[in-house]
Amino acid sequence: MSFPFSRRSFLRGMLNGAAVCVALPVINQFLDGKGTAFADGTKLPVRFGTYFWGLGLTDTPTGGTRWVPSKTGFGYEIMPELESLKSVKDKVSVFSGFRAIGDGRPNLVHWSGHASILSGVAPGQTGRFDAPSFDSVIADAIGTSTRFKVLDIDASTSRQPVSYSTREGVTFATPETTPLALYQRLFGAGFQDPNSDNWKPDPSIMLRQSVLSAIKDQREVLMAASGKDDRVKLDQYFTSVREMENQLAIQLQKPEHCEACVVPTAPKETPRAATVDAVRANARALAKLLAMGLACNQTRVFNFVHTAGVSETYLAGESKIYHQITHDEPTDAKLGYQPETSKLAGMVMEAFGDFLMELDSVKEGAGTVLDNSLIMAFSDTGYAKIHSIENIPMFLAGRAGGRHKSGQHIHTTGESVTRVSLTAQHLVGAPVGEFGSGSMKTARPLTEVIA
C-alpha cells in the first residue's frame, strides 16, 4: 500500500495545517508490513529511553517476593515495591524471570547484569562492555533529526557521574547531573524555540561548520599507521564530529512547530546531597526538564540513571548506605525477605513512578509524551544481597506511539534478558533482527507486547 503524499503532509491535513512535532498514536494500516515504519519509509517518531537504578528489587530464594505479580498478562496486581507505578500501571509492562547468562564468564558484581541487558554480551571485565549499548543503535535509527542525538542524565549525586551508554565499550557518555546543567544544555545557548514566529537561520552556524571540515580532512592521515585499538578510538572521535555537524545542520533548519513545547524557566542551583529523598527530588527535577526537552523535539533518545550499580544512596541519619544494607541485613525469618532493604527498594522505585508521571503530564496530540515514548527500565541485579543476575527486574513503560501493548506482566523462567532488550528495539523501529551473543543471542522478541 502506498500513499501519494508524505507522512508529514498527511498529518498536516489531518490537523488542519497545525503539524505537531511527533506522531499521533499510529494506526496499523499506515505502517509497512513489519510495522516499524510508515509506508513511505519514514521512521516512527517515537522516543526511546533507558532508566536504570541500582540494587534490584526483592525476590528472595525463600520465596518472599515484593515485586513479581502472581498474575500474568493484562491487569497484573500492584506489588508492594511497585506501589509508585499504580497511577501509570496501564502504561507499564513488567518482565520477570529473565536472567543474564554468562556462558562461563564470571558474575562481575554490579556490572554483568546491566552490561548484558544493554550490550547483549556477558562482559569480560568490570567497567567495559564487549559490544555497544543498544541505545546507540536506536539513536542511529531514530535520533538523527533532533538537535541532540541522545541525552545522558545521572540523578544519583554520588561519587563519579555514571552512564552506561557506549559505542565502543570503553568510553562511556558523560551525563548531565544537575537540573541547571541539563536546562542549559537543552534550553540554553543554541536552543531555538520551535514555536517562535520570527525564526531566522543563525549565520554563525555556517562558520562553525567550516571549523569541523578542517578536522575531517585529516581523518585518513590519522587513521593510517595507527594500531587497531587506536583506530577504534579515532573512529569514535570522528563519529562525534559527525554528530556535531548534524547538530549544526539541524540548527540551520526551521524547527517544526511543537504544540506541547513550553520553554521552562531556569531551575535554581541545588546543594549536593545523596539521600534517597534528595536523589528523588533531583531525579524529578531532571525528569521534568527531560519531558519538556522531548516535547520541544530537542532529543528522541535518552539514558537516565537514578543510582549506579553500587548505589550510594542512603536514608538520612542512617550510617549504612543502601548498598551495605542489602548485603548486611538478615532475611527476616517470618517475612521471608529483608524488611529494611525492601523499604528502600520501594523508595527508590518512587523516583521511577515520578519519572513516568512527569512524562505523562505533558500532553501531546491525543495523548502524552509518555504515550509517544518507550522507556526500558532495569537494574543491575535481581536479589541484591547475593548479587544475583537471575530475575533482574525489567519494565517497558510508555505506549511507544501505540506499538506497545502495555499494562502486562510477562513472566518466564530463566530466559535471557536480551529478549526484553530486543523487544524494546523492535518497538521503536530499530533495524535489528537479532541481539546478543552466546546463550543470550536471540531473534525472538516478546510478541505479546507488540501491537
Partner: protein, 547 residues
C-alpha cells in the same frame, strides 16, 4: 615510515595547564570535561584507552570557541597574534599562516604539516570573507586547532631508529611531550620544542639539560601535584557527599580544603624541602586553613590571629592528635569512607592499592553478609570479625581490614574519636605478621615497608608512559627502586632519573598497525596485544572491520 604507537586523551588538568601556558592564565575555562577513567590504579593509564563521546565533543567545541573568543578578543589579540593583517576587515593569508603555525605547533606539540596548515588557512580565509573580519576568521581557525584530535589526544609517534634499522624509537616531539607532561603536566614550551626540532632531545646531554630545566621551574610543582592527584585518587572530591545529619561540619569548602591540604603537604615535603618520600607517612608537618581547623579541632582564634579564612598557615599536628602523615589527613579519611560512617575495609583496600600497588579482587558474588549486623552496637571491629573468620572472605579481609582498623580513631569525616556506640575503639592491627597500633603505627609500618617505595617508582613510570608495567619492565623498575633508595628516596631525583632513562621512551608497537604505504599488516610485531576472550563479540567484529 613513522607509526603511531599510542593515542592518549589529554586530561582536564593537562588541558587547563596547556591553555594557561599558551594563552595566559587569565583565559577562563568553564566547561564540563569528559569523565576520566581509572585503569590499573591510574587515570593516566585510563586516558590512553579512552576516546571522546559526542556529548564530550560538544562540550570541547563550545569550550574551544570560548577560548578563541577570549584569546582573540579586542584586548588580547595584540598579544596573541604575531603580526598585523594588511586590512582587519579582510582575509590575510600571510598573517593567518604565521598565527596558525605558531599556535598549531604549541597545541599539537609538533609543527603542523602543510595540509594541516592549509585546512586552517581555508577556514580562516572563508570566515574572514563571510564576516568581514580577519580576527573572526582567525578565531575559527584556532577553534579548529582546539577541537582537533591532534590536540585533544597525545598522538605518540615512533620512527625507525637510525642506530638500529630493525627497531623503532619515539620521535623527538613525542619524547618532548612525554617529558613535559610528566614534569609539568603541560605541553612542551618553545624551548623544549626547539630541542625536539634540533634533535638535541635524542642526545643524552640534550635530554638531561631539558629535564634539569623543567624540574628547576616552578611548573614542576604542577607536574608533581597532577601525579599525586592521580595516584592518591584525589579526583573524587568534586563528588564527595556526607550525610549532614551525621557530619554537620562537612561542606564543599571542607572538601576542597582537604584535598588542597594533602597536595600542599606533599609538595612542601617532597619538592620544596626535598625530603625522603616515606616521610609523607610519618611527618606531622602540614598546613591548615579555617574550614579545616574546625574538623581538626584547632582553636583558630589563636592559630589564625591575622589571617583571613582562605589563608593557609603551616601547622604541626601535636602528638595527642594521633595524626601523622597524609593518611591521617581529612582527605584520605573522608574520601575512603561512606556518607554516614567510616569504612576500615575501604580505607584498607586503598592503603594497599595506592601505596603498596596491591589490588584487592572483587568480593565473591554470592557471599552472605548476614552475620555482619547492626551498626548501633559495639565497634566496627566486632562486626568485621565475621569477614575475617568467614573462609570465603578472610583471604582478602585479613589483608584489607587491618590498616583500616588502625585508622578507626578517625570517623567518616576524619574527626578524632576514641569511642563508638559507647565502646572503646581498639586500633591495634596485625598485617603480614607485623603488629602495630593506631594511625601512627600504620604510618611507621608504611614508612618501613619496601613495597611502598617500589610502588611509587612503578606508579611514576606507569603514569609517564601511560600503560601498565609488564614483566619486561621488572628489572628496570627494580633498578630504579634501588637508585631511588640510593638518592635518599627523593621524588624530584626519581622523576628526573625516570625521565632520562631509555626505558621511559621504549616503543611498544600496538597490535595490527595499518601501514600507510602498504596493505599488509604482517610486518608489525605486537608487544601489546589486546586481552580479548576467544569468542567473537560484535565489538570485535566492529574492530576487525576497521582494520
Amino acid at each position: 615510515m613513522p607509526i603511531k604507537v599510542a593515542l592518549r586523551r589529554i586530561t582536564e588538568t593537562q588541558y587547563r595547564h596547556t591553555i594557561a601556558d599558551v594563552f595566559g592564565p587569565e583565559i577562563k575555562i568553564n566547561a564540563r570535561f569528559e569523565l576520566e577513567k581509572r585503569e590499573e590504579r591510574l587515570l593516566a593509564i585510563g586516558s590512553a584507552q579512552l576516546s571522546l563521546t559526542s556529548s564530550g565533543f560538544e562540550q570541547y567545541f563550545a569550550l574551544a570557541s570560548s577560548i578563541s573568543d577570549q584569546a582573540l578578543g579586542e584586548k588580547q589579540r595584540t598579544a596573541s597574534v604575531p603580526c598585523r593583517p594588511a586590512n582587519p576587515n579582510q582575509a590575510d593569508d600571510a598573517c593567518a599562516r604565521q598565527f596558525i603555525e605558531r599556535y598549531g605547533e604549541l597545541l599539537f606539540r609538533r609543527p603542523l604539516t602543510e595540509s594541516e596548515t592549509l585546512a586552517r588557512l581555508k577556514t580562516a580565509s572563508m570566515g574572514a570573507k563571510q564576516s568581514g573580519d580577519f580576527y573572526a576568521g582567525l578565531k575559527l581557525a584556532l577553534t579548529s586547532l582546539l577541537v582537533a584530535p591532534e590536540f585533544l589526544f597525545r598522538v605518540e609517534t615512533a620512527e625507525p631508529d637510525p642506530a638500529n634499522r630493525w627497531q623503532y624509537r619515539l620521535d623527538a616531539y613525542t619524547k618532548a611531550a612525554r617529558v613535559s607532561f610528566l614534569l609539568w603536566d603541560s605541553a612542551p614550551d618553545h624551548e623544549l620544542l626547539a630541542a625536539a626540532r634540533s634533535g638535541a632531545i635524542h642526545t643524552e646531554a640534550g635530554l638531561k639539560q631539558q629535564i634539569t630545566r623543567l624540574t628547576s621551574s616552578p611548573h614542576f610543582e604542577d607536574g608533581v601535584r597532577a601525579f599525586f592527584m592521580d595516584m592518591v585518587q584525589l579526583d573524587g572530591f568534586e563528588n564527595l557527599v556526607k550525610d549532614p545529619s551525621i557530619y554537620p561540619k562537612f561542606n564543599q569548602k571542607v572538601a576542597e580544603s582537604a584535598r588542597e591540604q594533602t597536595l600542599k603537604t606533599v609538595i612542601d615535603l617532597l619538592v620544596h624541602k626535598k625530603r625522603d618520600y616515606r616521610e609523607i607517612f610519618i611527618s606531622n608537618e602540614t598546613f591548615i586553613n579555617r574550614p579545616l581547623a574546625s574538623v581538626y579541632r584547632v582553636p583558630f582564634a589563636s592559630a589564625f590571629s591575622s589571617s583571613s579564612s582562605g589563608d593557609w598557615i603551616p601547622y604541626s599536628f601535636p602528638q595527642s592528635s594521633e595524626r601523622s602523615g597524609i593518611l591521617t589527613e581529612v582527605s584520605f579519611l573522608s574520601l575512603f569512607a561512606h556518607p554516614g560512617s567510616s569504612s576500615p575495609t575501604r580505607r584498607g583496600i586503598k592503603v594497599h592499592e595506592i601505596f603498596m600497588c596491591e589490588p584487592t579482587p572483587d568480593p565473591p558474588a554470592n557471599v552472605d553478609f548476614s552475620r555482619v549486623q547492626a551498626t548501633n552496637k559495639g565497634t566496627i571491629r566486632s562486626r568485621l570479625l565475621d569477614h575475617m573468620n568467614n573462609p570465603g572472605c578472610s583471604g582478602c579481609h585479613r589483608r584489607t581490614d587491618p590498616p583500616g582498623l588502625a585508622l578507626e580513631h578517625f570517623d567518616g569525616l576524619g574527626e578524632m574519636r576514641t569511642m563508638e556506640n559507647g565502646s572503646k575503639i581498639d586500633v591495634s592491627a596485625d598485617l603480614y605478621g607485623a603488629k602495630f597500633e593506631g594511625a601512627q603505627g600504620l604510618g611507621k609500618f608504611l614508612h618501613d615497608d619496601p613495597r611502598v617505595p617500589a610502588c611509587l617508582v612503578s606508579n611514576v613510570y606507569a603514569y609517564g608512559v601511560g600503560r601498565k608495567p609488564d614483566y619486561q619492565d621488572e628489572d628496570y623498575l627494580s633498578d630504579q627502586t634501588k637508585a631511588f633508595a640510593g638518592n635518599g628516596y627523593r621524588l624530584p631525583d626519581l622523576m628526573m632519573q625516570i625521565a632520562s632513562s631509555s626505558q621511559f621512551f621504549k616503543v611498544a608497537v600496538p597490535g595490527a598497525v595499518k601501514r600507510a604505504s602498504s596493505t599488509s599488516s604482517s610486518a608489525s610485531s605486537s608487544t601489546l596485544s589486546s586481552t580479548q576472550a576467544a569468542s567473537t563479540t560484535p565489538l570485535q567484529k566492529m574492530r576487525r572491520s576497521l582494520k
